[in-house]
């Protein structure tokens, strides 16, 4: 004890026999620390209010029980013992209890070898905990792009909770349940990725174990070239777009973002290329364009029969209008602007973000971006983009750009909205809400009250109905598409499930705005009612068909998916391949028919487009060029960039890429043209320009038929009467 009288505001105590004088209200833990006596802890962090829940920092103050030193203020004359046998043994038991349930080595221990629990346990020489292990796993949560959650490694120290609430004021995280079943929960116990979490990373850097760890993104870090600059986390933190993000977290994500500089004319990304990054322009301007010819594959010349060679060529819609072709004047791309059909070129400048779809969902690039001046841009992987997108400032900027530049063309892209007055569009620009959905998240459920209308901004939304035995996909909607009008115009309830397939962003128009719009513009109402009626009728017809065909095998082979099948009657077929050759002849030597496929009874279902009920080919088209006609057949619009994703997606191998030689601007030598091979996707067109499909016409054995599976197989399925055979 100090011999001098204690000055006011200070308190004298002893810790392990050592006299210590500290300001009043100092915790015993801090008093010890300030004098070089270290007390172990798991739940206490210097920048958070102590909670005293792990109990590892217990010390003996001479009371009946030990006391947690982090929450215990010093009292005059207190005699504290931090290292008696009693204290050390109690601490060791606590560590052993925690280690019994700890998935050792946890993710943190594996990544960086610094799990605080495992380090303390090692120091206390706990090798094999003697207590029984937890029998029911608490599970992993893999839903966040940036942070991995392992509830089994969580020791409920509340450090993440205090980081989220006290340090960052985000109020997303808390305790749930109680007793041994207690755990941490995001919001109403949502998966982290679906919660209001902004990926600031504070919880993760607060976590002492592997319960919350930085997710290592597949593909690790961006390949750094000579033009790429790495930089320190502090540099990033100075940018407003990283406001509120934990520095340690950015440090961990260092490899996932680089700063690049481009000379004028240099290509930043090329349409059709696969990638995994997004770009954020800091300085300079860039030109975004589509270099593929805006046209579709047209086959002609066979009018006089098979002896004259058929040729395919590229034809824009002005020259060759097709049924149900889109009339849009804009092409949706992966940036905050849309391109015009007539002149697909636009300008991007500082503050613009592009490549979101490629970065979040790994779709091919939708357009080519070239530096128009000296450009400085950040290139980032999706964990960094996710952090940025969850930042309110950045989010507001991106949303603002979209509202200002693309929302109008999207609204105008909805055919019946063409007559909206400019003042109403302006009103909508301010009143619409931009919403994000994680993969698998349900936007609206069949039967829910319908209260809004949606435009798809990014990603794909699956519209489906449930029927006995499975799900019927009505449509995949992509950028520029819309849904929700049937519910609003009809009975006020949703008629189908709407589910985000990937990372989806939607523009939500409230029911009130929608009704106001419909009331004010009669043409909008008429247009919507027609569309809604058509969709209802189509859906009903589809459901009807499905109800009538309960045959599992038929369904499971995907035959029921088809609107129209090419079938080969194997009893007649001699495998002469005349059908295949005829198809090749009809399509510039590229056959769209392969004589292989599923067998059903005596029939071989040849590989050719089935115009499926669940058209997987449509998922992922970066420019939204593949879609259905009203008759449900697939049509590929003029702005196909030939990336080949739809061909990969088709489970039946029925979409082909047709190469064409064209001349394009030589990007390396501005002003000059050069020859290039460009591809366009095509699928079976049923030879609509001929009387009957070439393959069927060519078959010398009456074995090839183009049929509607429902009526053709009706007899075999024990339904209907007769066949078309």
């Amino acid at each position: 004890m100090s011999a001098t009288p204690t000055p006011p505001g200070l308190i004298d105590i002893t810790i392990d026999g050592q006299p210590i004088r500290v300001p009043a209200n100092t915790s015993v833990f801090d008093a010890a620390r300030m004098h070089g006596i270290s007390i172990p802890t798991l739940c206490h962090l210097q920048n958070e209010i102590p909670v005293g829940v792990c109990r590892l920092c217990v010390v003996d103050t001479g009371a009946r029980v030990l006391t947690a030193s982090c929450v215990r203020p010093v009292e005059a004359g207190m005699k504290v013992v931090t290292n008696s046998e009693k204290v050390l043994s109690a601490r060791k038991t606590l560590l052993e209890l925690l280690m019994a349930d700890h998935p050792s080595p946890c993710a943190r221990q594996q990544h960086s070898g610094d799990c605080e629990l495992e380090s303390l346990a090692r120091a206390a020489e706990i090798a094999q905990p003697r207590f029984a292990k937890r029998t029911v796993a608490r599970g992993l949560d893999d839903s966040s792009l940036a942070i991995a959650v392992d509830h089994d490694a969580c020791i409920l120290c509340d450090r993440c909770i205090r980081g989220c609430d006290e340090v960052k004021n985000n109020f997303v995280l808390g305790r749930m349940g109680r007793g041994y079943a207690a755990g941490i929960a995001f919001g109403l116990n949502s998966p982290m990725g679906d919660s209001a979490c902004i990926s600031c990373g504070e919880c993760m850097v607060s976590c002492p174990t592997g319960a919350l760890t930085n997710k290592i993104v597949v593909g690790a870090s961006i390949v750094a070239g000579p033009d790429a600059q790495g930089f320190e986390a502090e540099d990033l933190l100075r940018l407003p777009i990283f406001k509120g993000v934990s520095g340690t977290f950015l440090e961990l994500n260092r490899g996932a973002i680089v700063k690049r500089t481009y000379k004028p004319g240099e290509i930043i990304c090329r349409e059709g290329d696969f990638g995994s990054t997004a770009f954020y322009i800091l300085e300079g301007s860039a030109q975004v364009s589509i270099s593929s010819p805006i046209a579709h594959v047209k086959t002609a010349g066979g009018a006089k029969g098979l002896f004259k060679r058929l040729t395919s060529s590229l034809a824009p819609r002005e020259d060759d209008a097709r049924d149900d072709e889109a009339r849009d004047r804009t092409i949706p791309i992966d940036a905050s602007v849309d391109l015009s059909y007539d002149n697909p070129v636009a300008e991007l400048g500082p503050g613009d973000l592009f490549g979101e779809m490629t970065c979040m969902n790994f779709y091919p690039r939708s357009a080519t971006v070239r530096a128009a001046s000296h450009v400085v841009a950040y290139e980032m992987l999706r964990n960094v983009l996710d952090i940025m997108m969850k930042n309110k400032t950045f989010r507001a900027q991106v949303d603002g750009n979209y509202r200002r530049r693309a929302l109008e063309s999207h609204l105008r892209g909805v055919p019946m909205f063409a007559d909206l007055a400019p003042d109403f569009i302006d009103h909508l620009k301010n009143s619409v809400e931009l919403q994000r959905y994680a993969p698998g998240q349900i936007v609206a459920r069949q039967g829910d009250p319908a209260d809004s209308f949606y435009l798809v901004r990014i990603g794909f939304v699956k519209i489906s109905e449930n029927y006995p035995g499975g799900e019927l996909v009505l449509a995949y909607l992509s950028r520029g598409d819309y849904f929700g009008e049937i519910g609003l115009l009809g009975g006020g309830t949703r008629t189908a499930d709407c589910t985000a397939l990937d990372h989806v962003e939607l523009v939500r128009i409230s029911g009130d705005d929608f009704r106001q719009m419909v009331d004010r513009f009669p043409s909008v109402r008429r247009g919507l009612e027609t569309v809604a009626e058509e969709r209802r009728a189509q859906n009903q017809q589809r459901m009807q068909t499905v109800h009538n065909v309960p045959i599992d095998q038929f369904l499971s082979q995907g035959l029921m998916e088809a609107q129209s099948l090419l079938i080969l009657d194997l009893q007649n077929c001699t495998r002469c391949d005349a059908c295949v050759n005829a198809c090749a002849d009809a399509h510039d030597g590229v056959t769209r028919l392969v004589r292989e496929g599923l067998r059903f009874d005596q029939y071989l279902v040849a590989t050719s487009c089935r115009q499926c009920r669940d058209p997987l080919c449509m998922v992922g088209c970066p420019v939204g060029a593949i879609r259905r006609r009203n008759s449900l057949e697939v049509i590929i619009e003029d702005w196909c960039i030939g990336c080949g994703l739809c061909a990969n997606n088709c489970p039946y191998g029925n979409i082909n890429l047709h190469p064409f030689e064209i001349t394009v601007d030589d990007l390396e030598h501005p002003g000059r043209k050069k020859a290039a091979i460009k591809q366009k996707a095509t699928s079976c067109d049923l030879c609509t320009y001929l009387k009957e499909p070439s393959c069927v016409y060519a078959c010398p054995h009456d074995a090839a038929h183009r049929v509607d599976p429902r009526t053709f197989f009706a007899e075999m399925l024990g339904q209907g009467q007769g066949s078309q055979k």
């Binding site: 929450v71 207590f131 808390g174 116990n189």
Partner: protein
Amino acid sequence: MIFDDLRAIQLRYGFLPKPELESLSQRTQTPLYQIHGVASFYPHFHLVPPPKADVRICADMSCHLNGAAELRSDLERAFSSTSAQDVQIRDVSCLGRCDLAPAFCLNDQIFPSAIAAGAEDLIRAAVRGESLHEPHPAPARVSCASDPYSDGEQYGAVRKLAAGKDWDGALAEMKAAELRGMGGAGFPTSMKWSLVRAQSGSDKYVVCNADESEPGTIKDRFIMTHLPHLVIEGMMLAGFITGAKKGIVYIRHEYHAQEEILGAEIRRCYQAKLLGKNILGSGLDFDLEIFVSPGGYICGEETALLEAIEGKRAEPRNKPPFPVQAGLWQKPTVLNNVETFANVPQILARGVDWYIAQGQGGSRGLKFVGVSGHAARPGIYEVPMGCAMREVIFDFAGGMRGGRQLKAFAPSGPSSGYLPASMVDVRLDFKALADAGSMLGSGAIVVCDDTTCMLDMALNAVRFYRNESCGKCVPCRVGSQKMVDLLARWTRGPLPESQYRSDLALLDELSQAMALTSICGLGQIVPAPIQSVLKHFRAEVDAHVLQGKCPSGICFTASRAGEANRVGIRP
């Protein structure tokens, strides 16, 4: 108030649908995690739609001794083919009907003295959608020696104190009477009140802990039924003496009838100007309201109870500061048990001499005790403090049912541990029971006859604590589960002696750590039942672990398999 909002939603939908919680969060500017945190903490709230018949059978102590496990397996068999949307059968922690065991709860209505056939009929009625009515027989008028007003005007002590305003005198009388807390801890009441009185400021609270949830504890139920005026008067006196202007009765939600009785008495007091502003023209104000607990044994811990009133998860606070300094809303708070409050008017109305004369052998006053388990006449008895336990068990409660032998008794539920029959002459007194290695606690006497397996009883007690742990601190949250695991293994078959020895050492280490490092009394007391059984009934435990034999023929049977890990709380 978050619980009111949640109750309103649950009343409307039968559970708490997510969209409703989201709009509640918007409306009240409460973060979602806070709403989920409390909704998932309290057993009263359902996050998923409940079945048509939500059957919960009390699994603790007295009900366990009276065939709760058999009732559960009978009902499980009867409804084995019924869908989970119709019937779900689960355990529940003590419902406070220990004298009418076994009790079960069906759609939040409590039915005591359940027999399988009767329960089955009720469950089928619930599945058919018929409404259920909790039995509430009108209480017979009981005259208690404790009631100073059995034949005169009530609230005499309040009238006297409001007129005389002699606060120090009243405190001196309480001190002379040596009144101590009746909820379990036995802290001197006059000291607690003096500490609150000494705090500056007028924002102070008086809180009555009517959340008795320790298995076997039923005395407060009786006091609130028959002597509600003494509880309310005690709280008024606390308000006058300490300067608090607001009182809250925190009552467990299973006590529907008592909530009504107290509510009626409070309304009567407001009408008689005994509550409210300017009480009886004295210039003193005191308001009183009832707070219905959303459930859980932990809410009986004083600081957890305060957290619950504040609308949070009922997790005990680190102490100091104590409630007398920083209690409800961080204001000085008098927090006492129902019986403690009911004792104060007895002392002030009848005087210290009368109070001292009621006890025996130097103990003071009268005590309400609940006797349950294998007693011939289970019930609540008003006994002199200091009388022998033998008197309570054999004279008041009629000894063992069916003329069997007393084997063990718990002086106050699982927390007091078990004492062998040989110690039945111990006196019902704070010090005498503490000297015997037990405690007076809350007077929840549970008696076990010679058919009882003591290891089974210890496991039953630890399971109760495990189910009721709030999970805030490591020793209690993890330790209680590991202790269940350890004891359950002992009831599953013989172990090598070396294993048993190391298990015993491990149990001792765990007991030490839990008793020394847990934040609150719950975690600290978890080891008491098994330690008392090891001390007094060691041979029985040895027979289980070393020979794989249960001398009472209770463990190692199919009906008990898996019971240890049945969790009473919602999955």
